[in-house]
């Protein structure tokens, strides 16, 4: 693919997230990529493109290697994420953790969530990943009409859903059942 501004090959594929018309994918040569990314560094507009400027500091080989990296749960590659600006599954935050940190720091200036926590959540990132995989297996079991297996997986999924978040929801003692009974819109 050629750079959209010149005849050189496009080696950088940048998704600009802040365009008012929605994400814009740019295909640029190294030189034009640098110009584009340095265009307005002080605008304060958070974008994945802005962070890629930092990653441009890495060698091309390092970036190429990173682009190959794939999430074992959803299969998305870092390259695809860079192009689309969208991750593939919750486990990406664990699998690409060190690669995403520069981006998170650039966008949010912080790396740790402060604020609300759900009263219940999966026990860990691994168990969250396992739930996605189990659901896939359940769908496959249903497809081959192995309902016994499917119902076993369903039970396993249900038991995983009821894990409480440590330290969350301490402000009141609602159980899940009580919550289901409580409508907020009436």
């Amino acid at each position: 693919m050629k750079c959209q501004y010149c005849e050189k090959p496009a080696t950088f594929h940048i998704t600009e997230l802040t365009e008012p018309t929605g994400p814009q994918v740019m295909h640029l040569c190294e030189e034009h990529a640098k110009t584009f990314l340095n265009k307005d560094p002080s605008s304060g507009v958070a974008s994945i493109a802005g962070v890629l400027a930092n990653q441009l500091g890495q060698s091309k080989e390092e970036l190429e290697e990173l682009d190959q990296k794939e999430c074992p749960v959803c299969g998305i590659s870092f390259f695809e994420f860079r192009n689309s600006g969208r991750l593939g599954c919750p486990y990406d935050y664990t699998h690409f953790e060190t690669d995403l940190q520069p981006l998170l720091r650039n966008v949010h200036d912080k790396l740790e969530h402060v604020g609300k926590r759900p009263k219940r959540a999966a026990a860990s990132a691994d168990s969250q990943a396992k739930m996605i995989q189990l659901r896939r297996e359940m769908e496959e079991a249903i497809e081959r009409e192995d309902y016994e297996r499917a119902s076993k997986i369903r039970d396993e999924l249900r038991s995983m859903e009821s894990v409480q978040t440590p330290g969350a929801g301490s402000d009141d003692g609602d159980t899940d059942d009580q919550q289901e009974q409580r409508g907020t819109l009436s």
């Binding site: 998305i76 969208r86 599954c89 969530h113 996605i132 919550q179 289901e180 409580r182």
Partner: protein
């Protein structure tokens, strides 16, 4: 949960958030908060199969139906909807353009007051939204927090102890919270100060976007101010940032600019506002952008006491009802662009000319 939504009936009145009531409502149109949430046991939308999307839609719908007190919620299957009905919901700000234009299983659950809506299978599995008229973020936060608690009781969210609520785009991770205040800033536009105000906003992690008429000759002078960051600050801090640190300052600038205009160029301003009302009341054909442009001036004229026989609520309503999908709903049929221009003009005339058919200006 109700399934049949009568959009024709809905078109006749705006939702509660457009009433033109509430704090600072001469400048603040509405206050909106949205939360991005994802189900723990599905990939994000981008990696979902068609079956996954369908399964998410059905799961969320079934679980929402299990919530006591949610009987009034209208559930709209967006995949089955016509393009014009989807556009209608975009115009009412109940769904995003993105979900309207995408494919596959997707839906929105809407409270009859239109203050609450939950989009299913947008960029994230769930986008919960609460909208109030005027500047009222505190109660919007309380409402959405409660709504989120209720949904959390029936849906297991994707959550990371360090990164918080996990979202498809890393720009939303953490709280998943976007606070947006829609402002009407005609005087800052006229006095050429709007750019300066926005530049100062960017330094404090707030984004400002033009709302209507983007890239066209006309603008309605509407701007949306939102928080840029979502991670590392509590929901309350983000609500305070937008609602108490930023928006009141912009309101103050706009008021000063309005006072300056009244003081220094009263005749010119009165002339401009009167001409705007004149065009809207007498044009035979008018585009949606042009309508927005002149309604904006009329709205300012009302709040400055230069026009006294048109209510601000009427103007808010006309902003919505003169948009393409609303206009066609009100006429009960599909109109060509040229027909729309004519029907829009006649609709405006009927609603702006009062009493004996002439609109009096102060």
């Amino acid at each position: 949960m109700k399934r049949d939504t009568d959009f024709d009936a809905m078109a006749k009145a705006p939702g509660e958030w457009l009433r033109g009531t509430g704090s600072e409502s001469d400048i603040v149109i509405s206050s909106r908060i949205r939360l991005a949430r994802n189900l723990a046991d599905f990939p994000f939308i981008r990696r979902c199969t068609d079956e996954d999307r369908l399964s998410i839609e059905r799961t969320v719908r079934a679980r929402m139906e299990s919530i006591a007190g949610w009987d009034d919620i209208q559930y709209v299957d967006l995949e089955q909807l016509s393009d014009i009905d989807r556009l209608f919901l975009v115009e009412r700000q109940l769904i995003s353009r993105e979900i309207a234009d995408s494919d596959g299983a997707r839906a929105v659950a809407v409270h009859p007051s239109e203050r609450y809506s939950v989009m299913i299978n947008e960029e994230d599995h769930l986008r919960i939204q609460v909208m109030n008229s005027g500047l009222d973020l505190q109660s919007a936060w309380e409402s959405i927090n409660e709504l989120d608690d209720t949904l959390e009781g029936v849906i297991l969210y994707a959550f990371h102890p360090k990164y918080g609520y996990l979202t498809a785009c890393p720009t939303n991770v953490g709280t998943g919270l976007r606070v947006s205040v829609m402002l009407h800033l005609p005087a800052l536009v006229i006095t050429d100060q709007i750019e300066k105000v926005f530049r100062s906003m960017q330094k404090i992690n707030v984004t400002v976007r033009g709302l209507y008429g983007e890239g066209s000759q006309y603008t309605g002078d509407f701007y949306q101010v939102s928080n840029q960051i979502t991670l590392g600050h509590s929901e309350k801090e983000l609500v305070t940032l937008v609602g108490e640190d930023v928006v009141p300052r912009i309101i103050e600038y706009e008021r000063k600019a309005r006072a300056f205009l009244v003081d220094k160029s009263h005749e010119d301003l009165h002339d401009e506002v009167s001409r705007a009302l004149g065009i809207l009341s007498t044009a035979r054909k008018i585009s949606s952008d042009e309508t927005m442009h002149y309604l904006s001036k009329v709205r300012m004229g009302i709040s400055l006491g230069l026009i006294d026989d048109v209510e601000v609520g009427t103007v808010n309503k006309l902003f919505l009802q003169t948009q393409p999908a609303h206009l066609q709903k009100l006429y009960g049929r599909i109109l060509s662009s040229s027909d729309r221009h004519a029907e829009r003009a006649s609709y405006l005339q009927r609603h702006l000319i009062t009493g004996n058919g002439s609109s009096s200006l102060n």
